[in-house]
Symmetry: C2
């Protein structure tokens, strides 16, 4: 069962990263501009028809569970571990539970890297690159 793993270091205190991960306003600035809902623990948020439940929102660990409708992503958990190290917040990212290493998973892995760099830019500089209009394109199609 393959996982998508990533790491970025953000030159800001963990609580600023935590805020960007646990508020809809924050998530809109680095992942998807159309997010609706509530990103605090126990709540859920949506973009398009996709729905994510916030399983955990601790300052050192944020966990989302994807609850549909894309079958290729279900069931999957997305976790962000936050750890302050001297001058930066290290973010360890994992999307687990993908059933097969299909081509879509290759795509998601590269796309997550761009969104984590977008999270870094948003927290450090105030400007991220969320989809659908400002995300970094990795193919002709998106």
């Amino acid at each position: 069962m393959p996982d998508i793993l990533h790491r970025v270091g953000i030159a800001a205190e963990p609580m600023r990263v935590f805020h960007a991960l646990t508020t809809v306003e924050g998530i809109r600035h680095w992942w998807n501009e159309t997010i609706q809902g509530d990103a605090s623990e126990g709540a859920a948020f949506q973009f398009g028809s996709n729905r994510l439940e916030v399983v955990q929102a601790d300052p050192s660990l944020v966990t989302w569970r994807y609850s549909g409708p894309a079958k290729a992503w279900e069931p999957t958990e997305i976790t962000f571990r936050l750890e302050w190290r001297d001058v930066q917040t290290i973010v360890l990212f994992k999307q687990g539970g993908c059933s097969e290493p299909v081509e879509f998973m290759h795509h998601c892995s590269t796309k997550w890297a761009t969104f984590l760099l977008s999270l870094k830019d948003y927290v450090e500089k105030g400007e991220g690159r969320p989809e659908p209009s400002r995300d970094m394109k990795i193919t002709i199609d998106g």
Copy 2:
């Protein structure tokens, strides 16, 4: 045994991508400026003390084997599958054979995404972002 998977689509014919993957001059423009050696099939190239053997260099599949000295990467194979689809060359990347999902693997996964986007920029626009001086920084340290 976790793998690092990525996908990019490059708006250029496969032979241009193949050239960027199988010549030292090409690799210097998107991965590492200090690469020395020969990147054709059966040969090997180096950067710093790291050595990669070119196991296969077919127009649809390029395979490198890392042969040291970093233990965290050994034994590992890096493959690039190239497939032309209408308007772009789809590159499916895999670094397999990492023994454990350690933090270094999270780092390598994100860093590979930036180098594949660098490969895309180099082939499409003539300018990549190779390390050590022009790579996209994902942490304070590199």
